[in-house]
Amino acid sequence: MINDPLWITFVKALLLCLVLLGAFAYMTVIERRLLGRFQHRYGPNRVGFRAALQPIADAIKTVFKEDLVVSGADKFVYFLAPAISITCALAAFGAIPAGPAGSLFGFNPWVMDLDIGVLYIFAVTGLGVYGIFLGGWAANSKYALMGSLRSSAQIISYELGLGLSVLAVLMVAGTLNLREIVEAGIWGVSPWLWPGLALAFASFAVSATAEINRSPFDLPEAEQELVAGYLTEYSSIKWALYQMAEYVNMMPSAALMSTLFPGGWKAPAFLDNLIPGMSEWPIIWLVAKMAIFMFTFIWLKATLPRLRYDQLMRFGWLRLFEVALLSALITGAVIVFVV
């Protein structure tokens, strides 16, 4: 475990939170503009140059809305639930390495380098489920309760596929430490392993999309279904915190996808011929890969219709679970018998 002194870790954690929240703000605009372009129209382009100030306008509007507390709501839990969601979403990014050790002006480009990195991220996103079902329960309303139950059932079902897909990578890399997984170099493994890993990647991508409640799995947000699910009785800042949690959750998912599979912060080695050390630049390559995955999230949202809840659960338990299990089995078999 390579870690910086404690106070540097605090500074990096604070910086990371600020960066993630800023990124969330601009993700809302980028998503709306991209969705617009996918649908043959412009997205928002009035406030500021090409809607650069749109998040500020949205923030001002949200803050000025009436911040209600539903009567009969369990006040403590009602206030706590969105806080849990956003905290877990922000915390999940802590274990992800953004570059080789010592490359960020002499500091390490990660907040924490945990030996149980992958497990930590799954644990924290699992804690995020508390935010969802406590939110629905505390609102003291039928719609919210049903919505939150559906949402939590969806998330814990897809965690199954998520975990099994990661198993394939873990078998290849041999460690849970994210930094060592990236350094082990998924690109360089024997080609016999590629089918298993490709299958694992596919099932991981789909499970991650379902985990963060993203289209086509975003039934909790669909207004035709249960109004807005667990979000129904929330307004103003508390609702904004839930939206933040959803968008911010996209980022560790995309980051985890790029870290576990296509090689994290490493760039293809042939780029070292252009500028020496280019394949080892911190942050840039990770952000580029995350950008590709987030673009794909938005692309999926623009293309596919939502899955109905029973279709969603059936898909998670029957199809995805089998694919993920298959990928783990294939990878395991190849490692034992071939490589």
């Binding site: 372009r37 996918f38 043959h40």
Partner: protein, 175 residues
């Protein structure tokens, strides 16, 4: 939905990403309207004599499905005729908030006096400003009462936010 179908769908949306959007950025770009677009009414005049075409027969008011038109006729003074027939419309009012822009009045008119033009920027603030009289609809009046009020207050000309194809029934109307 198999993976192939999903991939094809995603290819379609990706293709749309690289096409130019169809949005017309309205105030900066002008809307392109077709010839028979039904907008604000115009009360036309005969091109040669300059007399009004409306003879106050009230067929438009009878045809209107929303009862939006009010017509009061009066005898033409032979010395100063207003219209080309025996009567003219002394009061001709259309309540634009009742009007549904169906064009039945235009179809019912025997002389082709009331014709629906292309103006659609008719928003205003008070209900009473929406009852358009003859002075708001006679040919030669450009823009809605709101547009004319704003232009007069600023000292500019009324700028219409659209470009329309030519329609021969709209005699004397040029945008």
């Amino acid at each position: 939905m198999s993976v192939i179908d999903i991939a094809k769908g995603m290819g379609v949306t990706l293709g749309h990403l690289f096409k130019k959007p169809v949005t017309v950025s309205y105030p900066e770009q002008k809307v392109q309207l077709k010839a028979r677009f039904r907008g604000r009414h115009h009360l036309l005049r005969h091109p040669d004599t300059g007399l009004e075409k409306c003879i106050g027969c009230s067929l438009c008011a009878a045809a209107c499905p929303s009862y939006a038109i009010y017509v009061e006729a009066a005898e033409n003074d032979p010395a100063n005729p207003v219209s080309a027939g025996e009567r003219y419309a002394k009061i001709y009012e259309i309540n634009m908030l009742r009007c549904i822009f169906c064009g039945f009045c235009e179809e019912a008119c025997p002389t082709g006096a009331v014709v629906l033009g292309h103006e659609f920027e008719l928003a205003d603030y008070r209900y009473q400003d929406f009852v358009y009289g003859k002075e708001d609809m006679l040919v030669g009046v450009k823009g809605s009462p709101w547009q004319r009020r704003e232009a007069a207050a600023k000292g500019t000309e009324v700028v219409l936010g659209f470009e329309a194809e030519h329609r021969p029934e709209l005699e004397g109307v040029d945008y």
